[in-house]
Amino acid sequence: MAKRLMLVVVLTGLALVSGLCPALAEGSGLLYQVGKLKPTDSVLKVKVGDQAPDFSLPSLSGEMVELGSFRGKKNVVLSFVPAAFTPVCSNQWPGYNIIQDIFEANDAILLGITVDNIPSLYVWTSRMGKLWFPVLSDFWPHGAAAGKFGILRGDGTSERALFVIDKKGVIRYIDVHDINRNPGLEALVRELEKLD
């Protein structure tokens, strides 16, 4: 009885301290537990109303994806997540994966970006099921795209950040979120619904 109580207390404490996200806790041995990190660690270089800086990055499908190629055609959501194989990041995109209809209804595309290389992204995202959106590697030159937006952290990872960019290439929404927490869907969907 005392041992079980101790076990529950310890496990509860660990969950609280690690910020372990429940979604992939099963098999969490495959995730690197980062502990609690400084919420943000960079200085934004863009603001709402600015033209989004362009970039071209390799995608998992092998094609180069250029942000500017969507201008005049699609609204774009950029979802930067800090690193593959970490708890919160591993839960964020599977949530976006079940709201493709909301993106389509608002004529928007989602681009998922990390600073990891393509092989790492391939293995990591294969555990999320089939993703409907392009996953881009900002690995080399390391974090160049993240750097243009001012969201490259001191340790070489990116912030957990969302940018909503309209068809004119103008930034309409920025959320540089506490890296330890999932940004949630509500605010993003609300912003998508404001777009033309």
């Binding site: 109580l5 529950v8 996200c21 992939l24 839960n91 599977p94 555990r127 869907l185």
Partner: protein, 184 residues
């Protein structure tokens, strides 16, 4: 100063409640969490509750409750959703439909996010949000989906009859286990 006192009192109450729940879990009892009933009148009626009313698990009309702890962000939960729907239908079409109820609790999910999951996978059972992880954190380091079969005892306390982590592979065996463990 008064506000600070109220804040401190609230914090102490929160910690005391958390400790009590943790102790209950350690003894094989399940904490009698407080939740908000579904807005959908049919789902609320299924649980014997008024729509959007605050309730405790022990107030659910039934003798046992199968609780799925899930997250809309969890690919395992997404993958298991149709199986869980079938299980719910099977229980609702069984002789035990009045005694055995099913709910889902969305760990870290807002009402909006739970609603997205419900719509996407056409989930018929009531899904309730645990937006700030209050319930999830009390339950400990569990992987989702996680199933608890809970008995509601006549006095209102809750016992854990059965636990299962992860999607179940054999739907028939899982259903039979739930019925057998419920002790009807």
């Amino acid at each position: 100063m008064k506000a600070r006192g109220r804040y401190l009192a609230g914090a102490v109450l929160f910690l005391a409640l958390g400790l009590a729940w943790t102790q209950a879990l350690a003894s094989g009892a399940f904490p009698d969490f407080k939740l908000k009933a579904p807005a959908d009148p049919d789902q609320a009626a299924y649980l014997g509750l008024a729509p959007e009313s605050d309730f405790k698990l022990s107030e659910i009309r039934g003798k046992a409750v199968l609780i799925e702890i899930f997250s809309m962000y969890c690919p395992h939960c997404q993958g298991a959703a149709r199986d869980v729907n079938r299980l719910y239908d099977r229980i609702r079409n069984s002789a035990h439909k009045g005694d055995l109820k099913m709910i889902g609790i969305g760990a870290g999910n807002s009402a909006f996010e739970v609603g997205i999951f419900q719509k996407k996978f056409a989930v018929p059972m009531p899904l309730l949000p645990d937006e700030d992880y209050t319930i999830y954190d009390t339950l400990g380091d569990i992987g989702t989906p996680y199933f608890y079969l809970i008995r509601i005892k006549p006095g209102g306390s809750l016992d854990i009859l059965f636990e299962h982590q992860g999607p179940y592979k054999d739907e028939d065996a899982f259903f039979k286990t739930i019925i057998q463990k419920s002790g009807f």
